[in-house]
Subunit: 344 residues, 2 copies
DNA sequence: CTGAAAGCGCTTACAG
DNA sequence: CTGAAAGCGCTTACAG
């Protein structure tokens, strides 16, 4: 054993240096009580001198835990998921977990592949942000060999916990907000006609509910399907709508990216926001504060979603694995900014 | 051994089911040649039936590898780092590695803490996006127990590989572009007066170089310090500049977020872009395509930075650990969009 | 081409 | 309060 050697010290090296058994060193490291102060001190000194850091693979092999959770999300270029990842990492860290992120690229095959990935076996648990999973995939979810919590809309029954916002109520609040400004021809931007459930379907439902409650008939020409919810798609859809000549005085966009894309086109075409058209989005992305005009939006409580999901997962990891799956809805709030300021 | 048992199969279970030794199973899994086809087939069948997945902790303990690399970045709310993380994950995956992301929250203590984190020991290598590290921290970098590649400006000498863009040349190109449009009073937005090196210092140098080359004297009142480079900071700085009454006809913002924040304030105040003021940023964030007007910017070759850094790291992990540290500069390009369109 | 055995570095009953 | 020993599930020389 050379002083200053580059080779990594093990528990045995520390034990030898401190003149105790490896059990005692392990006890000190893992914070067990009932160790004589002078023993503890000697061990800690040896740890410092040798720059000892436990071998995580050995610890995991023995304990069966890795203190890592996986976060499976569509992609981090989408600011919603980047901000979600940030929130999840903060919540996980508070609970003593690191986060391994896996992207899956917006298509179904890629999403399924992520759930079959062998890496899952090396994680204590998985947070999965659902995009295309459906009832037929429930069996696949059962086969994931670790605890798992789903984020986003529950499209199906499964044995897994699940955390989501109140999509329908959020969209209803957004629509009611525009109705309260006196708007009557409100575009619903981002529907997915083929999906009854999932965020698009639920948000469309909320839109319809709000109209019904206000006695405003639903005009199908105001419901605009947009397949992907990126900014470019919102811009494209907005151009198409303007080109048809359909009249409207408000927009409920089903996410902020769509709203921001639409905003850009409206301004480009000389449509004034909010004077001519009031616009509200969904997600409360950081950048909605800085768009021109600043975008009103539904804050889905993303931090709370992250915290709740991590807590549920940690509980499962901690042994609450037999309990029935839980479904948690988080609170949302309406954020009023310039794009829906009163103008009349 | 119950059929359909929930307990996880091990190599021994597979070996027993296939009637071979665990060595043979291991050989099949790790793709060694020279296995009789029928043996391989029997083993593969047993693996399928038992849903066998290797225990990664055991594999790591034995092999000394985890097939995971760490990515240490300031924070994912910043779109630059979210897009970088995306690029790094794609590059890593191609090389067979997963990515564990660690954020460090923009302050020095947090950045240093990330480098001391015990989790590093469980990774095959580290990619670290430098924010505040300086010469005095070189010793700390030596102590990181795994291969490491630094991203971003090299502020100091160390024994680690390093990948960055040509900051000075990029800023020079951006400034020259505005000069080429006939602009003469060009704001430099985002300087850090106390830092001579690092991105802010190098970009300011490029700005100064371009002015000098064009014979335009540098006016200190046009060099605007901005501490943080978030959109809100760009907006605040822009308001402050407009309030002083300083005249200008161009802006070189030291990153896109600053540019986007400034853009918002300019439009709010009725300043026309690019007619009154031409604006160019730095980073080529996805959203610069969709701002109003679309933002010209310097594309730093982020994907190439990510790929290069991952490749260097993988080479170190693969044993090229004795070679002297390499410094790699990636190519940038100037992306012309509406915010610097010719108007005269 | 395949097998028996050692050992990676921990944690955890089991003793004392 | 501390020690000696087993064993987590792999990979890897070493034999044959």
């Amino acid at each position: 054993m050379k002083a200053g050697s580059e080779t990594t010290a093990t528990l045995h090296d520390v034990a030898r240096a401190a003149g105790v058994s490896i059990k005692t060193v392990s006890n000190v490291i893992n914070g067990y009580p009932h160790i004589r102060p002078e023993t503890r001190e000697r061990v800690e000194k040896a740890i410092d001198q040798l720059h000892y850091q436990p071998n995580r693979a050995a610890r995991s092999l023995r304990s069966g835990r890795t203190d890592m959770i996986g976060l499976i999300v569509p992609d981090l270029r989408n600011p919603y998921f980047a901000e979600l990842a940030d929130d999840v990492m903060r919540a996980a860290r508070e609970r003593g977990f690191s986060v391994l992120i896996e992207q899956f690229d917006l298509d179904r095959d890629s999403e399924l592949a992520a759930l079959r990935d062998a890496h899952l076996r090396g994680l204590d648990g998985i947070l999965h942000s659902v995009l295309t999973l459906e009832q037929g995939d429930a069996a696949l979810l059962e086969r994931v060999p670790v605890p798992m919590v789903l984020l986003g809309e529950r499209l199906f029954e499964s044995s897994r916990d699940h955390v989501t916002m109140r999509n329908t109520e959020g969209a209803q609040a957004a629509t009611a907000h525009l109705l309260g400004l006196g708007r009557r021809r409100i575009l619903a931007l981002g529907s997915h006609p083929s999906e009854e459930f999932g965020s698009p379907g639920l948000r469309l439902q909320g839109y319809a509910d709000a109209l019904a409650a206000a006695g405003v008939p639903l005009d199908d020409s105001l419901v605009v399907p947009v397949d992907l919810w990126h900014r470019a798609d919102g811009a494209d859809a907005m151009r198409a709508v303007l080109d048809t000549g359909v009249q409207f005085d408000g927009i409920v966009a089903f996410n902020d990216s769509l709203a921001l894309g639409a905003l850009r086109v409206l301004l480009e075409r000389g449509v004034r926001v909010p004077e001519d058209v009031a616009v509200i989005g969904f997600d409360d992305l950081d950048e909605t504060r800085y768009s021109l005009p600043a975008l009103s939006t539904i804050n889905p409580g993303r931090s709370e979603i992250a915290r709740t999901a991590v807590d549920l997962l940690v509980a499962r990891i901690g042994g609450a694995d037999a309990e029935p799956p839980r479904e948690v809805f988080t609170d949302f709030s309406l954020v009023e900014r310039e794009s829906t300021a009163a103008t009349r």
